[in-house]
Symmetry: C2
Subunit: 80 residues, 2 copies
């Protein structure tokens, strides 16, 4: 089963990478009110049990993938 | 309007960051068949015209956000 983790800087947390992207887009002539940059981790888990896979990925987020102090995450199932 | 761009390494393209995540997850005792790491860019565009906003973000991807040689991207609309 393939699950995707979307990791974003929490609201209010400074996001220098997002600011750089916004500045660069504006320099190219695009109008952007805000840009935030996060990470995407796509995981292939050897199970068909969605509940179990999501619980496992939750634990991965807590232990390695996300920093709960400054990032929020969302686990989504994607079509293969 | 808030649009999210999901940027992933193309299939077959070496993804050292993904390999590092997989190795680290396995070292922590998790069973992961594959891990791929990409980026997520969330953009706030000052328009309510979804077709126009998506066309604009397509151009941003071509000019700055993604490297079409090694990355694929997907533009998704997210609830506010």
């Amino acid at each position: 089963m393939r699950l995707t983790v979307l990791i974003r800087p929490k609201t209010g947390i400074l996001d220098p990478q997002g600011e750089a992207v916004q500045t660069s887009l504006e320099a190219l002539g695009f109008a952007v009110a805000e840009a935030r940059v996060g990470r995407l981790v796509e995981l292939e888990i050897d199970t068909d049990d969605e509940v179990r896979a999501i619980a496992e990925v939750e634990r991965m987020c807590g232990e390695l993938l996300a920093n709960p102090l400054i990032e929020s995450y969302e686990i989504v199932r994607r079509p293969a």
